[in-house]
Amino acid sequence: MKGNEAIGEGAVRAGCRYFFGYPITPQSELTHYLAKRLPEVGRLYMQAESEVASINMVYGASGAGARVMTSSSGPGISLMQEGLSYLAGAQLPCVVVNMMRGGPGLGNIAPSQADYFQATKGGGHGDYHLIVLAPNSVQELVDIMKKAFDLADRYRNPVMVMADGIMAQMMEPVELDDQYQIEIQPKPWAATGKVDHEGKNLINSCYVIPEEMESLNFILRDKYSEINKNEQVCEEYQLDGADIVLVAFGTASRICRAVVEKARAQGIPVGMIRPISLWPFPADFIGTAANRVKCFLSVEMNMGQMVEDVRLSVCGKAPVYHYGRFGGMVPTVRDVLEEVKKIYSGGAGQ
């Protein structure tokens, strides 16, 4: 199954009822897949006139209590930022998929991880966070969609699933459960025209009086700190006895897995930590690991973005380096291995 199709099928199985989106490479097969698949199960696919329209349609459907998603790539996600800020402010759950491509600007259609800052540090205006998830295989793309919708509903917060052009176009075997059940918790806050609730349900992110705005900010802050406490997820690989720990997510983590294997075969003790949640960042796990390793190498398809979060997590306990390729270029196993050897011979091995 192709990565884009896997996300589509994952969304269907997670009970996504509406999709609003606009095609852009490298995620167009996702819109293509859902255009066919959603009507088959009696749900709605609609191609909007733009990304700005898509995200505001998402706002509407989410406000009415439906499971809803949109998807795009870099430039389109940038257009959605205002809407994402509104969704976060109005505490509306939704899932947004970003298949990252080379940038900045119109860039190209090649794979990239350059939208890390945009996704994890805000992107839109105001004080808010998205929950950001980064799968690294086609199977995980399917599985993570259910998790994304569940998290969105539980915390009433937009969730972004981040992958890149390679993950979108890549084909790998996928196992789909024949039995799947969708359990959606009731949403007593939703504006459903008084069918399901008493009194007035208002979906809003406009608070003219600063005191009122601040009290919403307090609610958001408490929510984010709860998410930060509960939802940090990462995977470790060959951490036992590792002197050098690679930190990588998505496609870069697949490359790093091969680097770990090759380095270990040559007697260099390398391991890997793969953040699956990019926000909340798995700071606790990395911080603990920092007590027993010599250094970290953050491998990213960007100029050095996640490396800042690794440094904050490590908190000065060990040096943190960065290796990256940008603009749609992908690091090779050989290049990363060379970098590892350079660091190892430069002192990390002593």
Binding site: I109, I166, M170, M171, E172, P173, R254, A258, V333
Partner: protein
């Protein structure tokens, strides 16, 4: 067993279809497979490459940067990817379109006039599968019967009338390799 196969050509030559077919056949045999296409923004005539990994073990990196087998469908790709092939690896060249001039001496090279062979089968569109047949005969990465079977899944139903000529093309490619090997035996 681990084969990392890189198929490189122009859009329209079937480079991506060949890769998908091969990956699907690997899946049918219960192997670990991955397929990563790389193509330009053009619909026809742009770069169309793909990497297919077939293994008995879980695949770490699905990206093929040092292929064990390189399939070359245009001369641009030969220049670009010859150096990347692992020592002892194999390059299969469509010599109908590419002068099989290879600099490396530590790899095996198999030139096949795939276009002419495909035309002799009655359909120039199956040149890619003549090459795939040869690849299967040499590497045995999956059985040729499995690939023939996989055509049913990979080709859309409206193209199923083309399955027999594609199967013939696969068999032709395998036969060419056997003939080539016999030549050396004698």
């Amino acid at each position: 067993m681990l084969e990392e196969i890189y198929i490189a050509g122009f859009g329209g030559q079937g480079a991506l279809s060949t890769g998908q077919l091969l990956a699907h056949a690997g899946l049918m045999e219960g192997k670990y497979v991955s397929y990563v296409p790389i193509y330009g923004v053009e619909k026809r005539g742009g770069v169309a490459n793909c990497g297919v990994t077939i293994s008995n073990q879980q695949i770490s990196s699905p990206l093929v940067t040092e292929p064990t087998v390189l399939v070359v469908m245009n001369s641009l790709s030969l220049e670009r990817f010859e150096k990347a092939v692992v020592p002892g690896g194999l390059i299969i060249i469509n010599s109908s379109l590419v002068e099989p001039r290879v600099q490396r001496t530590d790899i095996r090279v198999l030139p096949i006039c795939a276009n002419e062979e495909a035309e002799s089968l009655g359909d120039p569109m199956v040149a890619n599968n003549v090459i795939l047949g040869a690849l299967l005969e040499i590497t045995r990465v999956v059985a040729i019967e499995t690939v023939s079977e996989a055509l049913k899944d990979v080709l859309p139903v409206r193209r199923h009338d083309m399955i027999p000529v594609n199967v013939k093309a696969l068999e032709k490619g395998a036969e060419l390799v056997r003939e080539y090997n016999n030549l050396f035996k004698e």
